[in-house]
């Protein structure tokens, strides 16, 4: 009897264990009567999505003829592709102020051979808190140095980093130096000066890239840094150019293009609207800094960060959202609201959604399988009671990754339920008294 009780408790723990990844999809499933946001800018006002073996096998307005093992009638809820958080350090740190929990910055300036994927903590309490808002995929990105390392694409429901991987080593992250230096003076004001070391820093980058390019096949001994650069020159990996000012963007792109690197993605790009011609000509997508930031300068449009997306999208540039910044990991669950904010300032709602679904998938090269609700793609999506880009109606009832129904519980929802019950019980006790 005792054993049975213990076993019962263990099985209960497994069910409520918030991080326990979902089982593989054994039964086919049909989602009925949902407002289907495809992710490519289009919408099905009432329709059906069927999926089996982790893949979507039906999308349409009329009920499919073939039978599904199970079905969920959403009664008009909204269905969205899993949201993709780009340039994120999710899983690479837990508590900002506790140094021992931070693992996103390796020592050294040029580290193309560092892969952040192996530092990704699948058990992170911060990661699990993303899923209840619809964020299901992340680009786990190292920070620091000139070349921080390589990022990888992970799905947010896994036992370990290896199982989480969707795409290992999607590209390197190059932090272009700033042409200006900012100093705080005693009055609390800032002074802006030309960065005297700018040319020197740029030359170091150029030298490193040129040495990498001239690095011969089958060398002895192997140079790990240069070896890790090969895939940039043969077009298999992306250079994520982190740059915000107009000059940084211009100098960075002109240099990389001169080396015939054709897969360039601009990350940050706060002032990229000043370089629209250059970006368009070279077909460079922008992972645009999220809008919840103050203006950088006192004479700047207070809403510049909000209006930025429309400027780029209207020029035909492929745009997604960069979640990095202050408290970036825990705040990444606000990704749908970053998109919503861009929508509030001119971007059409479905296009704002595309920024964090199909556009993001295209930029990191996973659009064959992810990023939109389409037959043949992975069944990675979520269902929200209302408009998911608005905080008052983003209420996620179901989420699926590769067809697996995933838990939406977290450390936070567990505490919520326990303590809410505590308050309710004490109210009952008061009534009894």
């Amino acid at each position: 009897m005792k054993k049975t009780i213990i076993l019962f408790f263990i099985s209960q723990l497994l069910i409520i264990g918030q991080q326990t990844p979902g089982n593989g999809q054994f039964e086919s499933m049909l989602i009925e009567n949902a407002i289907i946001h495809i992710g490519d800018g289009s919408i099905i006002k009432r329709g059906y999505v069927g999926f089996h073996d982790g893949k979507i096998n039906y999308v349409g307005e009329i009920k499919p003829k073939n039978n599904y093992d199970k079905s969920i009638n959403t009664n008009g809820a909204h269905l969205y592709p899993g949201l993709i958080a780009l340039n994120s350090t999710l899983g690479l740190a837990e508590i900002d102020a506790v140094r021992a929990t931070r693992d996103y910055d390796e020592i050294g300036p040029f580290l193309p051979h560092i892969s952040s994927s192996i530092a990704y903590n699948a058990e992170s309490k911060v990661v699990e808190s993303m899923r209840m808002n619809g964020v299901l995929i992340t680009q786990t990105t190292p920070r620091g140095g000139v070349i921080s390392g390589k990022s990888s694409i992970m799905q947010l429901d896994a036992w370990n980093w290896e199982d989480a991987l969707i795409f290992k080593n999607v590209g390197i992250h190059l932090n272009w130096p700033s042409p200006y230096t900012y100093k705080r003076v005693s009055s609390g004001k800032r002074t802006i000066e030309k960065n005297k070391n700018y040319n020197k820093k740029v030359k170091e980058i150029k030298d490193f890239f040129k040495s990498s390019k001239s690095y011969l096949p089958n060398p002895k001994p192997i140079n790990l840094e240069y070896e890790a650069m090969r895939n940039l020159f043969n077009g298999n990996e992306i250079v994520f150019l982190h740059a915000n000012s107009s000059k940084q963007i211009q100098d960075g792109i002109i240099f990389l293009s001169s080396l015939r690197i054709n897969k360039i993605v601009l990350v940050g790009g706060i002032y990229s609207y000043k370089q629209i011609d250059l970006l368009s000509k070279n077909k460079i997508p922008v992972v645009l800094k999220h809008p919840h930031n103050l203006p950088s300068f006192i004479d700047e449009d207070p809403k510049l960060r909000f209006r930025n997306a429309k400027k780029l999208i209207d020029s035909g540039i492929l745009v997604s959202i960069d979640v990095s910044g202050s408290m970036e990991r825990m705040n990444s669950r606000n990704l749908p609201f970053y998109a919503g904010s861009f929508a509030a300032y001119g971007v059409e709602k479905e296009n704002a959604l595309s920024m964090i679904t199909l556009n993001a998938a295209k930029i990191i090269g996973i659009n064959k399988n992810y990023g939109s609700i389409k037959v043949g793609k992975s069944a990675t999506f979520f269902i929200s009671k209302g408009d998911a880009l608005d905080m008052r109606s983003n209420i996620v009832d179901y989420a699926f990754i590769d067809g697996r129904k995933i838990s939406l519980e977290s450390h936070q929802t567990k505490l919520w339920k326990r303590y809410l019950q505590k308050v309710r019980n004490s109210k009952k006790e008061l009534k009894v008294k």
């Binding site: 506790v98 802006i192 449009d301 825990m330 609201f337 008052r392 809410l420």
Partner: protein
């Protein structure tokens, strides 16, 4: 605690001293005037309110006990990220909670901070407000209030009070601000949409009936500033070409203040 008790004695000393005749006053030592003690006295007499920066339940619980020992009440716990763990005790004590909506995990004290904190405290009968000490978040406090609808299922009406009437109550200025009522100050915002919606933006902001922000005027202000900036740059260019030395550029961004900022 010792200083508080000492203070009662100090007050008695002053009472005694003031009751003396002018001649008698000259014969005794004048009690010490202590402005720090005066403030504590105001608290003990209920004339001044305590707002306490707080995080974890242990410290919150402790301070309520200290206050209760002196027969006083803490007015507001700010930040109060673990308020939900002591919500009934807070309600009994009569303290309000002014918390963040969804920030957590930035330091160890906030590992158990949850976005359901506000709604749980509300359930227990605590007066709840949402605040932020971030100069960025504070300008979107309407959206932060909306998070109480998402996390914890508060009604929109109740959530809106988190950033209007409830903080006014906690500041004891609800007779003047916090709701639209005849006789109250004309501090108003005209929104383009339901302000709890992400799609809403402030069109006009009025303080004491005067328009301080008008979204329609922003484009022309920006245009004017650009013209002025270009003019200054041109002047600087011609000055440099004329061989004059320039002074370094100084931006006029102001210093940001946080809860812990202590400044002269």
């Amino acid at each position: 605690m010792i200083t508080l008790i000492e203070h009662w004695n100090t007050e008695k000393k002053w009472e005694n001293y003031n009751s003396l005749s002018k001649k008698a006053k000259g014969a005794v030592e004048k009690p010490r005037k202590d402005i720090e003690m005066d403030v504590l006295l105001e608290i003990l007499k209920g004339k001044r309110f305590i707002t306490c920066h707080s995080y974890v339940q242990s410290e919150i619980n402790m301070l309520m006990k200290v206050a209760e020992n002196f027969g006083i009440r803490i007015n507001t716990f700010t930040h109060i990220l673990e308020g939900y763990k002591l919500a009934e005790k807070m309600s009994r004590h009569g303290v309000g909670g002014s918390t963040f909506s969804d920030w957590w995990a930035y330091k160890y004290e906030v590992i158990d901070a949850i976005p359901y904190n506000g709604p749980i405290m509300t359930e227990a009968g605590v007066t709840v407000a949402y605040n932020s000490d971030s100069s960025e978040v504070i300008r979107r406090l309407n959206q932060e209030a909306a998070k109480a609808v998402k996390y914890g299922g508060l009604s929109e009406e109740e959530a809106w009070k988190y950033v209007t009437l409830n903080p006014a109550k906690l500041l004891h200025i609800d007779d003047r601000v916090g709701s639209l009522k005849e006789g109250k100050d004309a501090d108003l915002v005209l929104w383009s949409d339901n302000p709890l919606s992400i799609y809403a933006s402030a069109e006009k902001t009025l303080i004491d009936g005067k328009i301080y922000y008008d979204s329609r005027k922003i484009p022309s202000i920006i245009k004017e500033m650009k013209i002025e900036k270009d003019k200054i740059i041109d002047q600087m260019k011609s000055a440099t070409n004329g061989g004059q030395k320039l002074q370094p550029i100084e931006s006029s961004s102001n210093k940001e203040f946080f809860c812990e900022t202590v400044d002269k």
